[in-house]
Symmetry: C2
Subunit: 626 residues, 2 copies
């Protein structure tokens, strides 16, 4: 049977009886299927446009109701009975939300590290006995205007295939050449750049792959988050994203947060290698998926960029993380790194490199640098703040020509951990809360029946409770019709059991205390940086909030509880996953890599645990009116 | 039992009953033991200075005679009965002869690609949170005078070990830094070299290994001959050879000559990989042996150079050889190559590179370039000729500012093949022949009873027979008391059965014809090059004869039969294994690598099979009086 998948325009062949979910997977499209295809999460909604499929199941009827009449179905429940054409709504695709949350990438000049050069090569003859390598170099030298270099490096693995490839392709081929722009500067050696390079450059360009004539070089940008992986397939000629995808970071099986991963790496004989292989395989899987989606070949991926926090960066490269888990938490390496994909297990074009942006410190990594790249914060005049909230929150302050950065242990409360009814931002999570006329109004993810509170919901809730006087400045709950004395102290009823099939959702005094700890950590970090720079909060002209959670939180709630500086709401900018955008910028331009290296070098890292003032700032910031 | 081995000064422990040969092997010393330790070849002679050993065997008595009283013994026959001190004569060591045959290496300025820099690194503290990588770079930058680069590349595998190594060594380490001299030129980018580099150089130095403080960097030069491997362990600080060794090229199991190896590589599914692994393992074995001999560690081998003919070069690197076996016989690659040892399976320091000198053509390889490097032929003024005789003979002509080279198929006759009583230069081979007063005088290898004729012997014999009129100019044998009409035509009795325990050794008309083919191929090649350059034989000021066979042949015999140009004997220079010397020069100086690359580019290769005049020159040169 042929299954046409719209709007991506992919066709796959499946046997009758296969589910539409399986068909989509075969096409490399990852539908949201949180329940694993059991029909219970109701997320893998597709619309059958034409063709025969099996009748709706009971779980579909309960999930979709009247929409079934319009052709909407759950892909995991619907089996193929003939040729079918389906339409997949963006919400059903993994990453759909994430993509919408992407920060815009600023326009940059396209200057990728690798370019494709078509070469028509003279074939050997008794009158022309040049080696295959020289033959290729000669053909390529002619193709590079102004290039008087007699030489060009050919990757040894490319060299191993070159004679057979050139003969198979009748002496026509496309060479992926890395760093072809540089020789104009360095080979002639009469130009003196104003400063030395910070990113590795060779005197010579290198042929990193040979492909058939007319091949289009692709780039792969990857963001290794502690929780999620994101990958972007980019056309290096046009500079456009041609596909993107994401997945959970499968290292989660070895520990939810960075410290747990480090413990696993250090505490098990092959722990670090296990973690390395796990993430490398997952990234290879994403690359394959992106290529399958777009009908491309991983052998066309001529260049790659990876960003991640320092621990993710180290685990990916196989660098030791033991010292990252022990004071004073120093990285093995902070400089940008270029390494051949094959040296770290990435399956790319034959000799393609992967570039890793620099790290700043043990808990301020390459992903923060990528965010700075995408937002322009590091080069900004005036006073500006950048905050990437997570289990560790990285904070950058640009002020008076200086750039200060720190990391503060904000903990997992915004991930729902340590909160009695906390949860991640899955369907049914309360993500917005307002209290109006003494009544609680909520919005849940996907408008599903409320299940618990995710980070943005609990932030709103604390802010609303404080604003309406239910909480005092220390976070204690006053008497209120919805406040009850429970076993563990006071708690505020957000959703009563009566209105929610008996499932009550509440927030306790100790939940509020968790949020106070988070907000105090962030606010104290900000104030320490401001003190270092000698500026006050009122001087802050812009506050950039980056990261997935930062995309969804309500800035005013953050201001109201004193997590963010008390500056006007319009000075805030929520930029979404700016790390992914920064990774793409580095992929599209070597000048951006150079820029990232300069940014990393100019940053003054402030270790909060060494700051005498931190503890008192933190204690002070526990108050909600600070 | 303790066995002291002199003059190398090594001590090993062995059980009683072990042979002295085994003791020497345990110490990494390879004694000549052609018969495999059976007591029959009589080559593994050592002298017992003190201590108890078993009584002499019958084979020792026959091999050593009265020398036994002086303590001389066969190591394979002599068993240990107590602590023993022995002295090993140079002749008993594998390579001893070869070492004597080494061409002298001209004095060169020491400028190795890798230098060792001891670094005392500041340890991390809460007030100093630099990454380990940056910490190392900072320490190294201070150690390089005039080096203002903020950066230095660290090999990723070194990086993987760096944090643990630095902590284990208490923040003191020795970095092996590759190409540290270059940044003085290129990083500042205000010097304009008069011509672009031909050998790969990076803008940045690279840390290729981290070793304990005070480590001494070693270099490994390797010559991959079709028949023999040679390896030299070099102290990169003093520029001295500290040990050298050799072995048969174990690829011989897959074919004796280059064409047979190519056939095996092309004709068997894993043939090329088999050949590659075989030679790589053998080279790793030689490196281990050299380190064992000198008490060093292969992890200290900071740099390596490999030379070999084009086929050996390609098989070592895993480059395809199919096109080398088919007209027009083009190499996959002719440029110099730098590749990390680990990428080709060589076990060196962590991130150490191996440099391969350039090839000229399918049958003029990197070993010829190395010979040119060692002899200075390529930069010589006037008219000079370089000849490296083997199954293929490479010829270089330097004349009128041009450098012409060719390869001629001289065949294996000088290896003893296709000669009825031919053999290699093993004990008993007749290596020198004179005919005086109608009587034949011979000298055999090791003065052993004559077994057959090796290359230099048969060359002498043909020359002597021609000089004394037994052969006419066409190679026909005239009547003579020692000439007999055998089944296969005329033959000349070299050693009668009577004088040699019934074993007669003779040379036949067809043996003479084989030598005529060889000498015609060589002489015709020389003449074609001379014609190209427009000079005559009389103009030749110097003839350099390189290679193992070239060391032992009698030049006058070569002149007499017209294999060499008829110029005065004193214009000839026999330089021994100049390829090994050239490899060592490239190891000791990057300037020599650059020189080799320039030499390779300036050579005009002449393909003899495309030369119209070659066939008539060849036919003419079959005559012995040409």
């Amino acid at each position: 049977m042929q299954i046409d998948l719209e709007p991506v325009g992919r066709r796959v062949t499946c046997e009758a009886g296969a589910t539409l979910l399986e068909a989509a997977q075969r096409a490399g499209l990852m539908l949201t299927a949180i329940c694993g295809g059991g029909g219970s999460c109701g997320r893998c909604i597709v619309r059958v446009m034409t063709g025969n499929v099996t009748a709706p199941s009971l779980s579909e009827e309960s999930a979709l109701g009247g929409d079934i009449a319009l052709g909407y179905r759950l892909a995991c429940q619907t089996r193929i009975a003939g040729n079918v054409r389906i339409h997949i709504p963006p919400d059903s695709l993994v990453m759909a939300q994430r993509i919408q949350a992407e920060g815009e990438m600023p326009a940059i000049e396209l200057n990728p590290a690798v370019r494709a050069i078509d070469a028509r090569i003279e074939s050997p003859a008794i009158s022309d006995l040049r080696s295959d390598g020289r033959r290729l170099r000669d053909a390529l030298d002619c193709s590079l205007p102004g290039h008087d270099s007699p030489r060009m490096v050919i990757d040894v693995e490319v060299m191993r295939r070159l004679p057979d490839d050139l003969r198979a392709w009748n002496w026509q081929a496309c060479a992926f050449v890395r760093d072809p722009g540089l020789p104009k500067i360095a080979m002639h050696l009469h130009l003196k750049p104003h400063r030395p390079y910070l990113v590795r450059k060779n005197l010579w360009p290198e042929v990193v792959a040979i492909r058939p004539l007319g091949a289009l070089p692709l780039g792969l940008a990857m963001d290794i988050g502690t929780t999620k992986l994101a990958a972007y397939l980019v056309d290096l000629v046009r500079g456009e994203i041609i596909a993107c995808t994401g997945a959970m970071n499968p290292q989660i099986a070895y520990g939810e947060d960075v410290m747990a991963r480090i413990s696993h790496a250090v505490g098990h004989p092959d722990g670090a290698e296990q973690l390395r292989l796990t993430v490398v395989e997952a990234l290879n899987g994403l690359a394959r998926e992106l290529c399958a989606q777009t009908g491309r070949d991983v052998a066309d991926i001529a260049d790659a960029v990876v960003v991640g926090n320092t621990a993710m960066h180290h685990l990916f490269l196989g660098l030791p993380v033991r010292q990252l888990g022990l004071a004073p938490y120093v990285p093995a390496e902070s400089a940008p790194i270029d390494v051949k994909g094959r040296e770290v297990g990435l399956k790319l074009a034959t000799g393609a490199y992967v570039h890793l942006l620099p790290n700043i410190a043990g808990f301020v990594g390459a992903d923060h640098v990528a965010m700075l790249l995408a937002t322009g914060l590091a080069e900004r005049d005036g006073v500006a703040l950048g905050i990437d909230i997570g289990t560790n929150t990285e904070i950058s302050l640009r002020a008076r020509g200086r750039h200060l950065a720190c990391s503060t242990a904000s903990g997992p409360a915004f991930e729902g951990a340590h909160i009695q009814h906390g949860m991640r931002a899955a369907p049914g999570a309360i993500e917005k809360v307002t209290i109006h006329d003494g009544r609680v109004h909520i919005k849940t993810v996907d408008n599903a029946p409320p299940v618990g509170l995710c980070g943005s919901g609990i932030l709103d809730l604390v802010a609303q409770l404080f604003r309406t006087g239910v909480l005092n400045t220390r976070g204690d709950m006053k008497a209120h019709s919805l406040v009850r004395r429970g076993n563990a102290g006071a708690e505020f009823i957000v959703v009563t059991g009566d209105e929610n099939d008996g499932r009550e959702i509440s927030v306790s005094r100790s939940d509020v205390a968790e949020i106070q700890l988070v907000k105090a950590a962030i606010r104290a970090g900000i104030r320490i940086l401001l003190n270092h720079a000698g500026v006050s909060e009122a001087d802050i002209e812009e506050v950039i909030i980056a990261g997935a959670f930062g995309t969804y939180l309500d800035v005013q709630s953050g201001i109201d509880i004193g997590m963010f500086p008390r500056v006007n709401r319009h000075r805030f900018r929520q930029v979404g996953n700016a790390a992914g955008a920064g990774a793409r910028m580095a992929l599209l331009s070597v000048a951006q890599r150079e820029r990232a290296a300069r940014i990393a070098l100019q940053i003054e890292y402030v270790e909060l645990s060494a700051e005498k003032g931190f503890q008192s700032e933190f204690t002070h910031a526990l108050l909600l009116d600070v």
